[in-house]
Amino acid sequence: MNFLIVLFGKLFSKLIIFSNLGGGATWPGHIALNMNPVFIKETLENSRTKIILIAGTNGKTTTSKLIQHIFEKNGKTTLHNSSGANLLNGIASALILNSNFFGKVNKDFAILEVDENTLPLALRQLTPDFLVLLNLFRDQLDRYGEVNTIASNWKKSIEKLPKKTTLILNANDPVIAFLKGNGRSLYFGLNERSNLSQTEDWADSVFCPGCNSRLEFTKVYFSHMGEYLCRKCGFKTPKLDQSKPYFPLSGNYNKYNTLAAVLATETAGIKEDSINTALKSFNPAFGRQEQIKVNGKKVQIFLSKNPTGFNESLRTVKNAKSVLFALNDRIPDGRDVSWIWDLDFESYANSFRSTIVTGDRTYDLALRLRYALFKKFDPVENLQQAIKKALNITKNGETLYILPTYSAMLEIRKILTGKKIL
């Protein structure tokens, strides 16, 4: 049965790519799961591949790419469900493309990123050797629901994991650090001076996940990420299990992604020196701080799809001269744009020489900037024209920084590079 699935899956995927219908990242898996709902389970049980599962609101793709890069630079073979194909069908597709006709995956490591809602479903199908949990922030409430709901679903399925699964957890996110499996738990986190004195107003997890009391934060890096203590039940930031690596990407955000990738690969047996060497040659995933040259001008894209991500991007580009914000409200972006009111635009009202806003919800974003007292901003509804205008305003030698939501990022990239990616 699985032989046929793999055969047809591979052919089908080639056909999709050949006929330019897309990247073939989800359809073969979709069909496979319809034919055999336990396809993922059977294929992975049949293989010697070690499984690394990655979940969290922000940083899944960057962390996966980092892990993949570190492994490959150290002679390991990997597979990764790329390009945001992070539902079960995406995982099944990745397995099809990377297995032989005996239904065996022929790679050393399967690096699988999963959507917040998919994690419990994925854990029913596969037992990861390493489960990397990055963070939980409010994101697309219309699609994912509330942070506490996701956290409690995660907790239930993680408690059932066998001893062989090692948890790699973010010590600075209380909800993540609180999770427990039946095997080892290792913790990554920042250990530096904090840049905020208290959790941000809209931070999600400021209560003890154990007893619901308010947590006391002694350090805050951003949102609710920091060092904390519960005076009532004693729950606090766990001790960190790691050394300070080389950071190939800017922003606190990416420090966490790097720390997670380093702890995971180190635990999987790669030596510290070799990890650092690999990190020095890392190139970011598309749309994640990726640099593109257009007519001699530099453009850098910072995918910014939820309050925490967007705020961190703003913090990273605060010295920019020229910025473009793009807000779409399609399904991958979340149809609800109320989160823009949680963003800290107020701190950047006088930061940029030129600010252009665009996307499906151009005027919602413009309205937000009006209330943040931005002195000058230009709403340009058409994305192509907005980019053109932003590039014209950007002087030679300057960088245009673009902060788009997910679907806007894909479109912008298509316009800038003239290529299709998915």
Binding site: E146, D201, R335, D336, W341, D360, Y363
Partner: protein, 245 residues
């Protein structure tokens, strides 16, 4: 002239960009040269602080936060009820709107008592029944109100309360009777977030005007403000949902 705006539980009840409502009230006062102060009423606040407020706002929250708030607010229920009865204007969104009603019935039948100030009740039909999510447009005395809704609970109004408006597109209180939100005296309850006030400046100005008139006990005429970006943002959604503004 000066307004004191009481923001009930800013840390606990602000899941859906509710901060935007406060920002809009504050700036629209400032742009008109009015003095304005935001009084944050966090858990454990003194009941007496409520009486300092000329206008109240409370937003929605996740379940865990809502539990903490309900414990705290129950202790101040009488003071809040008196203010609302006296006609202190207020805006209560989502969880706050539900909480002012008689009760909230959870999917498993558990009844959580509300403050009983608004003649309404809310029922959650269960996790397997779809939440009411999407862009929404209603007809109201403040013109067409445009926003986004996302709620599992279905709210039903009693006889002693008026709806905020009639649903043109979207679901509203319960997805059945065609009404959205509620008005009681000068208090407004609604499922709109998005947040509600930025794209509905008429409603924002109505609340400011009421608060000033109540405080200074004389008719007030607000200086008009420029609303062109607001109009364009409204048009984007109206056009998409095929509604004429």
């Amino acid at each position: 002239m000066k307004l004191i705006i009481g923001w009930l539980y800013p840390q606990l009840m602000s899941t859906y960009g509710d901060k935007g409502n406060i920002l809009v009230l504050k700036k629209r006062c400032k742009w008109r040269g009015l003095d304005v102060q935001i009084l944050n009423l966090n858990e454990g606040f003194k009941t007496g602080d409520l009486n300092k407020c000329d206008l109240l706002f409370m937003g929605g929250a996740q379940d865990r936060q809502q539990k903490i708030v309900s414990g705290d607010l129950r202790k101040k229920a009488r003071a809040l009820s008196e203010l609302i009865e006296q006609g202190i204007p207020g805006l209560y969104i989502c969880g706050a709107y539900q909480f002012l009603g008689k009760y909230y019935k959870e999917a498993d039948g558990t009844i959580i008592k509300g403050l009983g100030i608004f003649d309404l009740y809310t029922e959650n039909p269960g996790e397997n029944i779809e939440r009411l999510i999407g862009n929404i447009i209603i007809d109201s005395q403040f013109g067409k109100l445009i926003g986004f809704e996302n709620h599992g609970g279905r709210t039903y109004l009693g006889k002693n309360i008026e709806p905020l408006g009639k649903v043109q597109r979207g679901f509203g209180n319960n997805g059945k009777d065609g009404f959205e939100g509620a008005i009681y005296k000068n208090s407004i309850g609604s499922y709109f977030h998005g947040p509600i006030l930025p794209k509905n400046p008429k409603l924002a100005d109505h609340l400011i005007k009421l608060a000033l008139e109540k405080k200074y006990n004389s008719p007030i005429k607000l200086v008009p403000l420029e609303n062109s970006i607001e109009e364009k943002a409204r048009k984007t959604i109206a056009k998409r949902l095929n509604v004429n503004l």
